[in-house]
């Protein structure tokens, strides 16, 4: 299968928005990233920073926004270069682009927000290998035009930011009695310190995912459409040229 056909197949189904105009499509990408395919709560990507840096709401917000910037810019650039990058070396090319943006962002953080940079520590350079960024490059930006790709990056980044801030807020509130650094609980409240430590991240993440699924299940019962939209996978594995996809081997009855 040629590259062109592959791209045509992987792109969003045409009915989703091309006719409705570019703004609708951009809005749809934003909604998709924040709610329908939230990278943390639905796609379960980028778990390492999610669990490691969300000790406070500020840290979660900082990590989310940093990732958002890298994600949006790398999606835009990869989409612009998608005609030039050969299919075979696309992953190394993505990594080089992402790593360049991460370096830029890290130097900026060191210069203007040294405290945040210190708090996030090694997790800033590790954005390079964040699954969300590589995943969006591979499944969306590489096969879609620049403007939707940019908004896909912004939407996913915002979804990540919202998720990390929520986790950080809950952990900070329960584990230290504070919200965004301000003490808001009465003195009689004894913080449950485990929530400020690593095990607490797992508890809070699991509880929020469960809550999210609960709301979603309630919505589905009420008749709302909760299916995912346009993640780049058409779920048609028989006609898909993608070789490294995990669904190919686990999808029932569709093994090669």
């Amino acid at each position: 299968m040629s590259e062109k056909e592959l791209r045509a197949k992987n792109s969003v189904p045409a009915g989703a928005g091309r006719e409705e105009g570019i703004m609708n499509r951009a809005a749809e990408r934003l909604y998709n990233g924040i709610a329908k395919e939230n990278p943390t709560f639905v796609l379960m990507l980028g778990m390492c920073p999610t669990l490691a840096v969300t000790t406070s709401a500020i840290n979660g917000l900082g990590m989310g926004l940093t990732t958002l910037v890298v994600l949006a810019l790398s999606n835009l650039l990869i989409s612009l270069l998608r005609g030039l990058i050969p299919n075979r070396v696309r992953i190394p090319a993505f990594i080089v682009i992402i790593a360049s943006f991460v370096t830029v962002v890290q130097l900026l953080l060191e210069a203007y927000l040294p405290d945040l940079n210190k708090a996030l520590g090694v997790y800033i350079p590790l954005i390079v290998v964040n699954c969300i960024i590589l995943g969006r490059a591979e499944s969306y930006a590489y096969s879609n035009p620049p403007i939707p790709s940019l908004f896909d990056g912004i939407g996913m980044g915002m979804g990540f930011t919202v998720a990390l801030t929520c986790i950080g807020l809950v952990r900070e509130l329960v584990g230290a009695g504070k919200a965004f650094g301000f003490k808001i609980t009465p003195d009689s409240f004894e913080p449950v310190r485990i929530f400020a430590q690593a095990p607490g991240a797992f508890f809070v993440l699991a509880a929020l995912v469960a809550l999210q699924n609960f709301v979603k299940a309630a919505g589905a019962r009420a008749g709302r459409d909760t299916s995912k939209i346009g993640s780049g996978c058409s779920h048609d594995c028989m006609n898909c040229g993608e070789k490294g996809c995990s669904q190919r081997f686990y999808d029932d009855g569709k093994e090669e």
Partner: protein, 324 residues
């Protein structure tokens, strides 16, 4: 062919033992330790025990009701409430015996909720919990509220617990430790009361000596070799009677759900717990390490079982049949 050969399918021999019978036996066996704790620390110990048991039982009951309601909406599945099998009472009692008497009551109740809701019911209820709920809750409380969990000063006793004193290099009275006239958590102080309960469980056939025996012997050897006191009977006895070793070895490590089912695996499990407890007590920063050792051991149980699974007759190791 005569009627004699027509047999129904197995099982042919049924035992009358049921979960609540076993749990009742454990509760009765814990009564000496609980009773001594109340005698030793005063009526507040009874309050802590009752609050913790109430929180575990109530959590299990409410979870059962919730499951039932979900089914009525057309989703989920029927689940008979499991509160009558008394396992929640055992969890609550064990947790309470692992708490200091000065523990704020809401923290004790929170521990009970955590034990049942997070460790037990969310993983599928009794039989599916991957670690001992009471110990997991104790560790949860220990990490969350270190100062409250280490507050062993009460009306009856002040100063360090025997293990902390040992760690600091002071002398301890071994006879007091054996009888239980020392500070500590509610149920761990009296080695005598715990041993009475353990004997009862062994005589009733609820537990056997494989895990506790290998655990305590390994720990004793470890402390003798690496404790820095050589073979000193007083030090060894203090290490064995102090802290939660007996409570953990006889009542927690032998939990049916979280111990290995293979016989060889049970010895491996006991030896592993003994080594870990020794390492934590001798080389660790804290004085006690039984609870962390047991929940770490619980996590390794699936691996131990896989490793020690006996080979069926006629099969090779790895589950393949012999070929001729």
């Amino acid at each position: 062919m005569s009627e004699f050969y027509k047999v129904s399918s197995n099982p042919h021999v049924r035992s009358r033992a049921a979960t609540n019978g076993l749990m009742l036996a454990v509760i009765v066996a814990l009564m000496p330790a609980a009773g001594f704790g109340i005698y030793n620390f005063g009526p507040r110990a009874l309050t802590v025990i009752l609050v913790t048991i109430a929180s575990t039982v109530l959590t299990e009951f409410l979870f059962g009701i919730y499951k039932w309601k979900v089914k009525r909406d057309g989703k989920g599945f029927w689940q008979r409430t499991t509160v009558t099998d008394l396992s929640a009472v055992v969890t609550g009692l064990l947790l309470a015996l692992n708490l200091p008497v000065t523990m704020p009551l809401w923290m004790a109740a929170l521990g009970g909720v955590f034990a049942i809701l997070v460790v037990k019911m969310l993983f599928g209820g009794l039989g599916q919990n991957f670690m001992n709920p009471a110990l997991a809750a104790r560790c949860f409380l220990l990490i969350s509220f270190p100062s409250a969990m280490m507050a062993f000063d009460c009306d009856a006793y002040t100063g360090a617990t025997p293990l902390a004193a040992l760690k600091a290099g002071e002398q301890v009275n071994v006879l007091d430790m054996f009888l239980g006239h020392t500070g500590g958590t509610i149920g761990e102080t009296s080695a005598l009361a715990l041993l009475i309960g353990a004997c009862l469980l062994i005589l009733l056939g609820v537990i056997d000596l494989r895990i506790p025996g290998s655990y305590i012997v390994t720990f004793g050897l470890f402390v003798t070799l690496f404790g820095g006191h050589g073979f000193d009977p007083a030090y060894l006895a203090a290490q064995l009677f102090g802290g939660g070793l007996l409570l953990g070895a006889f009542f927690m490590a032998t939990d049916y759900v979280t111990r290995p089912i293979t016989i060889r695996g049970q010895y491996v499990f006991g030896i592993f717990l003994g080594l870990l407890t020794g390492i934590f007590r001798v080389f660790g920063s804290g004085a006690e390490g039984v609870s962390y050792a047991i929940i770490l051991g619980n996590l390794l149980v699936p691996l131990i079982e896989k490793w020690t699974m006996p080979v069926a007759f006629g099969h090779r190791k790895g589950g393949r049949r012999h070929e001729k």
